[in-house]
Symmetry: C2
Subunit: 408 residues, 2 copies
């Protein structure tokens, strides 16, 4: 017997026909005594349609966050009712439960709720009765009993958190790709599907630009130590399993994956007098203006003058504010000036334990040198190395690094 939580997104349940297909697939794959919980999102464009309705009332409906949650949560409620009905028409008993009904408790931040705890007694009760339990993703209730939604990536997060609270054997996330790849298959044709990847590596890949899984859901998997199986809606093949540790004896490759991120801008504050506290002045001002800084590099131009350049990266969305803040700070600390560049991108390699193998960094830098690509900034973490390169060169950078580490 296995207890399995399966999550299907909006495109998998976009029509009643697709809902029937999801139900059939689940019944086909189910062993006699498996206990199955299915978490679903709203059908296809439902959420967008509801937002359009709200815009017929209010120019900025998201000002009314509690009412938006009341509105948007109906989308999943429709899906669960229909999917439960689908199981019943196929001869298997099933029951639909809303987020509040599965005991998904959140804080009181509407439209961006955080899960505070789950009391899934009702789910256990219904599983005991032999029913497939169909749960509305993306939603919960706060302490007042008001419906909240979990914001971006909410359905994946609900599913993994519920799997954790139920001590499920695995949480399967069904998606339109068949797993997690060593790099973006649109950039590298020979990208390889990973069999396994650790939570930490997956989080690092997501942070560095890989888009398959929402970091929140992966963090939830790590918290509960629930294996997450990312797999295809369209095939029955095994996908990629995200878990705490590798189960296979020998990991085939020195690194896990190559990520890239084009949502990067570079700002340089030039000719900064290198006095104590100057870095603090700059980055506390940026923090105060809500600018998230990613890579940071400080370089001494000449030891005699003790003048330094402070270079850092931000996301493109934050660039306008970052420039404004940097200009103000530069004046205050008597820096020579500020320059910025949008035509930059970040290429990264991720792999647990890579810091213990100095050859890996050298191999990455060597790959870029081989392709004649200049490195503007380098930054490292426990499990990753990132290089800022010219924006037009980033795909080439990913390709050569992938080829040198994965052979294709």
């Amino acid at each position: 017997m296995a207890l399995i939580v399966k999550k299907f997104g909006g495109s998998s349940v976009a029509t009643t026909e697709k809902i029937m297909n999801v139900a059939k697939r689940i019944l086909n794959e189910k062993n006699e005594d498996d206990k199955i919980v299915v978490v679903v999102s709203a059908m296809g464009d439902t959420t967008d349609e509801l937002i359009t309705l709200a815009k017929g009332i209010a120019k900025e409906p998201y000002l009314y966050t509690r009412e938006m949650d009341m509105l948007l949560s109906t989308g999943e409620q429709v899906s669960i009712a229909l999917l439960a009905m689908a199981f019943k028409t196929l001869g298997h008993d099933a029951i639909s439960l809303t987020g509040p009904q599965v005991g998904m408790r959140t804080n009181n931040v509407h439209t961006k709720g955080k899960i505070m705890g789950i009391e899934p007694k009702r789910v256990f009760d219904e599983l005991e009765k032999g029913k497939i339990v169909v749960v509305a993703g993306f939603q919960g209730a706060n302490d007042l009993g008001d419906i909240t939604t979990l914001g971006r990536g909410g359905s994946d997060t609900s599913a993994v958190a519920l799997a954790g609270a139920l001590k499920a054997d695995v949480c399967e996330i069904f998606t339109d790709v068949d797993g997690v790849y060593t790099t973006d298959p649109r950039v590298v044709k020979g990208a390889l599907k990973m069999q396994e990847v650790t939570y930490l590596e997956m989080l690092e890949l997501a942070r560095l630009g890989a888009g398959v899984m929402q970091p929140r859901a992966v963090e939830m998997g790590k918290y509960y130590n629930i294996p997450i199986h990312v797999r295809s809606t369209f095939t029955t093949d095994t996908g990629t399993i995200i878990r705490e540790e590798y189960t296979m004896e020998d990991k085939n490759h020195a690194i896990t994956g190559v990520a890239h991120d084009c949502d990067v801008a570079k700002i340089a504050i030039l000719g900064v007098p290198n006095t104590p506290g100057v870095a603090h002045s700059i980055f506390s001002a940026l923090a105060a203006d809500n600018v998230a800084v990613d890579m940071i590099v400080q370089s001494i131009r000449t030891a005699e003058t003790n003048i330094t350049d402070m270079v850092f990266t931000v996301s493109l969305d934050d660039l306008a504010q970052a420039k404004k803040t940097a200009d103000a700070v530069a004046q205050k600390i008597h820096a020579a000036g500020v320059t910025y560049a949008e035509n930059v991108a970040k290429v990264s390699i991720v792999g647990a334990g890579m810091l213990g193998s100095p050859g890996i960094a050298a191999k990455m830098f060597g790959s870029l040198a081989e392709a004649g690509i200049n490195i503007e900034i380098i930054s490292t973490s426990e499990i990753s190395i990132s290089c800022l390169v010219e924006g037009t060169k980033v795909k080439e950078a990913v390709q050569i690094i992938h080829k040198n580490f994965f052979g294709q």
Copy 2:
């Protein structure tokens, strides 16, 4: 200060524009310190659209009553979110609450739930904070916390019951007619709008074919003794107030209204030996087959033979079953035969205390005689007199009776 519950049906909130209009109207009519609760139905055709979706999954979705309630209850949830948002955009604080959130407890009969009690603490709390409270009609929750719907007339019933539990001053039901009329205005141009009518008279009018208010809602008003104000969505005129007793000293007319019902068929079991228990044989057989009998008349043909004819009416829906049952019973009790007629209709007058005024019955029978209309069956209750007439003559019957009692 007044506490007022206002109910708007699906056609009043069919579009976001109409929802804005409802909000504006309520704010225009609201006195500074009035406390307002608004009960709404699903927008326009939403319920039908949801049923169509369900039919994409199951041929007979109403077999899955719990899941239908989960599905259909989303319709009202969308309306309340949008209406609450509309109040907020107009500058008045408001909050939407689902049926479960207002403490509407029902029994466990899905799609046809009965209200078992209301614990509206949350409603009081929100009213205290100065908010307009927008409530989803038609829905509640059973003891498991599962969403139930109240079936036909459910939104009116929710509104009146909630008004009762809140000890509101009045429950206003907004509709596409501007009140309750002395008879169907499509039949009699000069039909008069009633200023007041008692719960009992209203129930009797509904039972006898008048269609303005669902009897369930009127019964709920009677139970809680809450005045129900039936009024127009399109004008601000006073409509008709349904209450326990008339408040005006002199009621203008001897009767309250004239109703008619064409959903009637007549069955006659002829030549029945008039022995004790014969009526019981006939009507217990019909009851066992779930046929509801309305008017009953027994007439002795001749005292010598002690042979009688048993004539009764049923609704057209029940006619096929009633004929089958009557044929079987007729054989068993050695009756001469069974005849039936579909071309009949019932015309009724309703008025509290009419039995104490014998002139009223005479005036009704006289009116029909004046128009040359034959009476096939007469039946009476405490507050009504009904005559079965030829189907083609029923409009004429309503017109002449209305003219003689109301002068037009």
